[in-house]
C-alpha cells in the first residue's frame, strides 16, 4: 500500500475529500471508501486522518454536516459540499496542476 495522504501536503487530502463529495453527500466511511476508489486503491485514508480533516474543513466552511440514515438504516453523520467548498475545490485543483507540472518539469531537466 502506498503512503497515506497525511505524509503529503495537507491540501492533497482536502482535495481528495472535496472531490469525493462532488457527486453527492457521503458519510465518513463512504468518503474513505470513495477516495480509495477514485485513486484506484493508492490512498487509504485512515479514520485518524480522516476525522481531523473533515472537522477542520467543516470549521473552514467548505463542507457542512447533518445526521441521516445510512444504507443499513444506521444513524450516521453525512457531509456535503458548500458553495465555498466548490470554489476551494477549483482552487486546490488548479494548485495541484501547477505543482505537478512544476515537478514534471524539474524531473525532465537534466
Amino acid at each position: 500500500m502506498s503512503p497515506e495522504p497525511t505524509t503529503l501536503l495537507q491540501g492533497t487530502l482536502d482535495l481528495l475529500i472535496l472531490k469525493s463529495l462532488i457527486a453527492g453527500e457521503l458519510h465518513g466511511l463512504g468518503i474513505s471508501r470513495r477516495v480509495q476508489q477514485i485513486t484506484s486503491g493508492t490512498f487509504l485514508v485512515k479514520p485518524g486522518s480522516l476525522f481531523p480533516a473533515l472537522h477542520r474543513m467543516e470549521d473552514e466552511g467548505w463542507i457542512s454536516s447533518f445526521w441521516g440514515d445510512s444504507e443499513n438504516n444506521r444513524r450516521a453523520k453525512f457531509y456535503r459540499l458548500t458553495k465555498a467548498g466548490r470554489k476551494q475545490l477549483d482552487l486546490e485543483t488548479e494548485r495541484w496542476s501547477r505543482i505537478s507540472w512544476a515537478i514534471a518539469q524539474a524531473l525532465e531537466a537534466s
Binding site: 458519510h27 465518513g28 466511511l29 485512515k46 479514520p47 485518524g48 476525522f51 481531523p52 472537522h55 477542520r56 467543516e58 470549521d59 473552514e60 466552511g61 445510512s70 443499513n72 444506521r74 444513524r75 450516521a76 453523520k77 465555498a84
Partner: protein
C-alpha cells in the same frame, strides 16, 4: 464571508463544546459500527468483524483526541482545562495556596500602593497638550530662585518673549465660603490668565472656558469637574447659574476677592486638576477678578508663570533671551535696586511637564526610598514563593517523570505547571490590587493636613493597572518558570530508580534554595537597618531641643487686625489682649510675634552692619521677625546677653514705617558680624527704605530653629513688633485655655476672629509628617520582610529535614544524640543566616549612603544599629530553625531507615 464562517465555528466550539463532544462521540461510534457491518458483510463472524473494525479505526479515544487537537479554538479549551486542573490541585493543598496568595498580596499590594502615590507626584505628566513644552519661569540671583512677583513681568513676557509660543499665569487665592442649596461649602480656587485654558489646549467638559478677552472680566467663573459633580450633582443646567462668594475664610491674607456674584460659564475637563499638582482647584477665575490687584497682593501671593517653549529652543537660549525682558520690567517696578540685582538678576526656566509642586521636593526622596523598600519586599516575597513552588514541583517529580515516560510532551507539562503558578499569582495580584485600592486613600489622608491639603488623584487608573500587570509578569517569571522548566527536564532514570521522592532533590535545587534564603536574609537586613535608622532619626527629631520649649505653649492666630486700623488702635488692642490673657489662671507668660517658628513663613531684609564691610559677592540678607516683649521667656529661648524688649521700645508716634530703634540678634548672627566681641551697643541699618534710622543691638539670644527642624544654624534677628499671632505658655489643658482665650478676644472686640488654635508641639509634629510617615512605613515593611524571611527559612529547613531523614536516622543509629542532630540543623540555618547578614551589611551600607542626608542625629553607618539588627536577625533565624530542628532530633532511626 469565509472569515465569518470561521468565527462562527470558533464560537460554536467554545460555547457548545459539550454538544460537539457528544456529536463527535456518536460519529466515531457510528463509523465503528459501519466498519463492523462492512466486515460482517465480507463474511467475518461477529467477534472478528468487531476486532478488525477496531484495528482499522485505530482506537476511539485516539481518534477523538486527534480531532480535538486540530480544532479551531482548541488552545482556549486546553487553557481552560489547565486552569480547572490547577484549581483542583490547589484546593488539595489549602495551606500552600493561602500562604502563597497572602505573601504575594503583601508584596504586590505594597508596591501598587506606593506607586499610586508616587505616580501623580513624580511621574505623571499633566493631562494637557504637549506637556513637555511647558516650562516654569522664575527669576534667580545670588539668593537663589525666587518666584516672580510682578504681574507686569508676566505681561511683558506675554507680549515680547519670542521664545514662547504662549505664556500663561495663575495665582492661588485663599479658600472661600459660599452657600449652595442651603449648605455652606468651602471652595478653593485659582486666578488664571485669559489664555490659560487655550494655551494648555483644553476643551471644556460643558459650557465654555476662558478666552483672552475674559482676562479682565470680573464676574465669570469656570468650575472644576469634581466640584461640579460634588456640589451641583452633575446638573447640566449649572451653566449660566450664579454663585455668590462671601468673605474669605482665611482672613490673615490681604483680602483680594470682594464679595460678589459670578456666572458659571463652563466646566473644566474631568481629568484636569490644575497645574499645581497637589492643589486641585475647585474653580477658576480670571485675573481681572481681583479688581485691579494691588502691589501688595502680588507681592505676597506671587504668580506662577508657565510658558510654552517653541520646539527646538534650548533652555540656555531661552533664558538668555528672557533676561533683558526681566530686567526691563523689574526696573520700572518699585522693586528696590539692590533686591533687583540680587533676587531678580536672571531668568530661570525649569521643566513643568509634570506640573508644579510645593511638596515634590520634600517628599521626593522619601517616596523614592519607599519605592525601593517595597521593591525589596516584593523580591523577598517572590523568593519565598519561588522556593515554595520549587519544593512543590519537586514533590511531584515522580508524577511528572511517569507522565513524561508515557509520552506526554514536556512543553505541555510545563504549560500545566505554569498555569498553576499563574492562577496563584493572579489571585495574589488581585488581592494585592484590592488591598492597595483601600490603602492608597488611607495613606494620602495621613499625609494631608487641613493647612496643607494634598489632593493627588490616586484612584485606579490604567497606569497603576499596567504597573501591577508588569509586577505580576515579573513574579510569574521569577517564581513560576524556573521551577517548572527545571523539574520537567528529561533525566528520568535517577528519579524512577530512587524510592523516596524527596531524594530526587538534586544538589542544584539545594543550592538554589540556599541562595534564595541567603538573598532574603540580606534583603531583610537592608530593610530593617534602613527602618531602624529612619526610626531613630524620627525619635531624634521629636525629642531634641530646638532652642525653644516644645511643650506647654499654645499658638493662637488672629485675623489680620492691623490691616485696617491705626497704629494706636492696634497697640491698645494687643496691650489689653496680652494683659487679660496673662491674668487667666494657669497662664505663665504671653507674647505675640508676626509669625511662629517652623510655620513656613519667613522674611529677609538687607542690612548694613556697623563695623562690618561686606566682601565682594557677600550679602547680608538676614531673616527676622517682629516680637513682643516676653517672647523669649514665653518660647523658652534663653537670653544670653543684654536685655529683652520692653513696651518703651516701640514709638507709635514715629512718622515713618519704622517704629523702633532696637534689635536683638541670635548667637550665630552675632558671631558672624562681631566675632567674639560684644555686639551690644553696635548698630544695624536696613538698606531699603528712606529715612532709615539705625537699630541699636540691645541683646543676644540663643540660637533656635526657625524654618525647619533640620536646618543648620541660621542667622536671625528680632525687632519689636506691633501685632501678630499669640503664644501662650500655661499649665492649663488646651481645650480650656483655648476657649478662655477666645472669650478674651471676643470681649475685647467681637469683630476679630480667632482663625486657629493649636499647641506648638502639634505644629512641630505636623512639620514632621513626612518623617513620621516614612519611619512608620519602613518599620512596618521591615517587620513584614523579617516575617517573610523567617517563613522562608523555616520552609527551607523543614524541607531539608524531610529530605535528610534517612541520613539523620543513620547518624542516630551510629550514636548521635538528639542534641547533636538539633545542633546540626540549627547550624545549617544559622550559617545561612550569618552569610545573609554579612552580605546584607554591605548592602545596607550602600543603601544607607543613598539617604544619609535625610537622617537626623544618626549616621548611616551607625555601628550600634547594625549590631542590634544583626543580632535580631540571628535570633529570628534561630527561632525559624527551632521547630524543624526539634523535629529532626526526634527522628526515630528505625522508622527513618525503613522508609528508605
Amino acid at each position: 464571508m469565509l472569515r465569518f464562517v470561521k468565527l462562527q465555528s470558533f464560537l460554536r466550539n467554545i460555547f457548545s463544546s459539550h454538544r460537539i463532544e457528544t456529536d463527535l462521540d456518536q460519529e466515531v461510534h457510528a463509523h465503528l459500527d459501519m466498519l463492523t457491518d462492512e466486515n460482517l458483510r465480507a463474511g467475518m463472524n461477529s467477534a472478528e468483524a468487531q476486532r478488525a473494525a477496531r484495528i482499522e479505526l485505530g482506537g476511539i479515544e485516539q481518534v477523538k483526541e486527534q480531532v480535538r487537537e486540530q480544532r479551531l479554538g482548541n488552545w482556549l479549551h486546553s487553557i481552560y482545562s489547565d486552569c480547572r486542573f490547577a484549581l483542583r490541585q490547589l484546593r488539595k493543598s489549602p495551606g500552600f495556596t493561602l500562604v502563597t496568595v497572602l505573601t504575594l498580596a503583601i508584596g504586590i499590594g505594597a508596591n501598587t500602593t506606593i506607586f499610586s502615590l508616587l505616580d501623580p507626584l513624580l511621574l505623571r505628566k499633566l493631562p494637557v497638550q504637549h506637556a513637555d513644552e511647558l516650562v516654569w519661569v522664575n527669576s534667580t540671583g545670588t539668593l537663589g530662585p525666587a518666584e516672580i512677583s510682578e504681574l507686569a513681568t508676566f505681561y511683558t513676557y506675554r507680549e515680547k518673549a519670542a521664545v514662547f509660543s504662549s505664556v500663561l499665569a495663575f495665582s492661588r487665592i485663599a479658600p472661600y465660603t459660599t452657600t449652595l442649596n442651603g449648605k455652606t461649602v468651602m471652595a478653593q480656587g485659582i486666578l488664571v490668565s485669559g489664555n490659560y485654558f487655550e494655551a494648555l489646549g483644553l476643551r471644556p467638559f460643558s459650557g465654555r472656558l476662558f478666552t483672552e478677552s475674559d482676562e479682565r472680566a470680573q464676574a465669570v467663573i469656570v468650575l472644576s469637574c469634581d466640584f461640579w459633580k460634588r456640589e451641583f450633582h452633575s446638573d447640566p443646567r449649572t451653566i449660566g447659574k450664579i454663585i455668590q462668594f462671601g468673605d474669605q475664610a482665611d482672613a490673615t491674607r490681604t483680602s483680594s476677592l470682594p464679595q460678589r456674584s459670578y456666572i458659571i460659564v463652563g466646566i473644566a475637563p474631568p481629568e484636569f486638576f490644575g497645574t499645581q499638582i497637589e492643589e486641585a482647584p475647585d474653580f477658576y477665575m480670571p485675573l481681572g477678578a481681583t479688581d485691579l490687584p494691588s502691589q501688595d497682593y502680588w507681592q505676597i501671593q506671587g504668580i506662577s508663570i508657565l510658558g510654552r517653549l517653541k520646539p527646538g529652543t534650548s533652555f540656555a537660549q531661552a533664558e538668555a533671551s528672557l533676561d533683558p525682558l526681566l530686567q526691563e520690567s523689574e526696573r520700572v517696578s518699585a522693586v528696590p535696586d539692590i533686591e533687583r540685582k540680587e533676587s531678580f538678576a536672571r531668568t530661570l526656566l525649569t521643566p513643568a511637564a509634570r506640573g508644579l509642586s510645593s511638596i515634590r521636593a520634600k517628599y521626593s526622596l522619601p517616596a523614592r526610598i519607599l519605592q525601593a523598600v517595597v521593591a525589596l519586599l516584593l523580591l523577598i516575597a517572590c523568593g519565598n514563593i519561588a522556593s515554595l513552588f520549587l519544593a512543590r514541583a519537586i514533590s511531584r517529580r515522580r508524577e511528572i517523570v511517569v507522565r513524561l515516560a508515557l509520552g506526554a510532551g514536556a512543553s505541555r507539562l510545563v504549560r500545566q505547571l505554569l498555569t498553576e503558578s499563574l492562577v496563584l499569582i493572579a489571585a495574589g495580584t488581585l488581592a494585592g490590587l484590592a488591598a492597595s485600592f483601600w490603602l492608597s486613600p488611607l495613606l494620602l489622608a495621613s499625609l494631608s493636613t487641613p493647612q496643607l491639603p494634598i489632593a493627588l488623584s490616586t484612584g485606579l487608573n490604567w497606569r497603576v493597572l499596567l504597573f501591577t500587570a508588569l509586577l505580576m509578569a515579573l513574579a510569574v517569571l521569577i517564581c513560576g518558570l524556573a521551577p517548572a522548566v527545571s523539574v520537567t527536564r528529561r533525566e528520568l532514570t535517577d528519579d524512577l530508580k530512587s524510592p523516596s521522592s524527596a531524594t530526587s532533590y538534586s544538589s542544584r535545587h539545594s543550592r538554589l534554595s540556599n541562595v534564595l534564603v541567603v538573598a532574603q536574609v540580606a534583603l531583610s537586613m537592608i530593610l530593617v537597618v534602613s527602618a531602624s535608622l529612619l526610626l531613630r532619626s524620627l525619635i531624634n527629631l521629636e525629642t531634641f531641643n530646638p532652642g525653644f520649649a516644645r511643650d506647654q505653649v499654645l499658638l493662637v492666630s488672629l485675623d489680620n487686625y492691623a490691616a485696617s486700623r491705626s497704629r494706636q488702635q492696634v497697640a491698645t488692642f494687643y496691650n489689653q489682649l496680652l494683659a487679660r490673657v496673662r491674668r487667666l489662671p494657669g497662664v505663665r507668660s504671653v507674647s505675640y510675634s508676626s509669625f511662629t517658628p517652623i510655620s513656613g513663613k519667613e522674611v529677609g531684609v538687607n542690612l548694613i552692619v556697623e563695623g562690618y564691610s561686606l566682601k565682594p559677592g557677600e550679602t547680608a540678607n538676614e531673616r527676622f521677625v517682629g516680637v513682643s516683649p516676653d517672647y523669649f521667656s514665653t518660647m523658652g529661648i534663653p537670653l544670653l546677653a543684654g536685655r529683652d524688649f520692653t513696651e518703651q521700645d516701640i514709638h507709635l508716634e514715629s512718622r515713618s514705617y519704622q517704629v523702633t530703634d532696637v534689635a536683638i540678634l541670635n548667637r550665630t548672627m552675632a558671631r558672624r558680624f562681631f566675632g567674639d566681641s560684644n555686639p551690644i551697643g553696635k548698630h544695624l541699618r536696613f538698606v531699603e527704605g528712606a529715612n532709615n534710622r539705625p537699630l541699636e543691638i540691645i541683646g543676644v539670644v540663643a540660637d533656635s530653629k526657625y524654618n525647619d527642624l533640620r536646618e543648620s544654624p541660621l542667622e536671625f534677628f528680632y525687632i519689636p513688633g506691633t501685632h501678630g499671632d499669640l503664644q501662650v505658655r500655661a499649665n492649663l489643658a488646651t481645650g480650656a485655655l483655648s476657649s478662655a482665650v477666645r472669650d478674651v478676644v471676643r470681649s475685647l472686640d467681637p469683630s476679630v476672629a480667632v482663625t486657629g488654635v493649636k499647641t506648638l508641639r502639634a505644629s512641630l509634629d505636623e512639620s514632621l509628617r513626612p518623617d513620621r510617615l516614612i519611619a512608620a512605613l519602613t518599620t512596618i515593611l521591615g517587620l513584614l520582610a523579617l516575617a517573610l524571611t523567617c517563613v522562608g527559612l523555616y520552609g527551607l529547613l523543614a524541607f531539608e529535614v524531610t529530605r535528610r531523614t534517612g541520613e539523620i536516622g543513620i547518624r542516630t543509629a551510629l550514636g548521635a544524640r538528639p542534641r547533636d542532630i538539633f545542633r546540626l540543623i540549627v547550624g545549617q540555618g544559622l550559617r545561612l543566616t550569618a552569610v545573609g547578614v554579612i552580605v546584607g551589611t554591605f548592602g545596607a551600607v550602600t543603601a544607607g549612603s543613598l539617604f544619609a542626608n535625610f537622617l537626623f542625629g544618626v549616621k548611616d553607618t551607625d555601628v550600634l544599629t547594625f549590631l542590634v539588627v544583626s543580632m535580631t536577625l540571628c535570633v529570628a533565624g534561630f527561632l525559624a530553625c527551632f521547630i524543624p530542628a526539634r523535629r529532626a532530633s526526634r527522628v526515630d532511626p528505625m522508622t527513618a531507615l525503613r522508609s528508605e
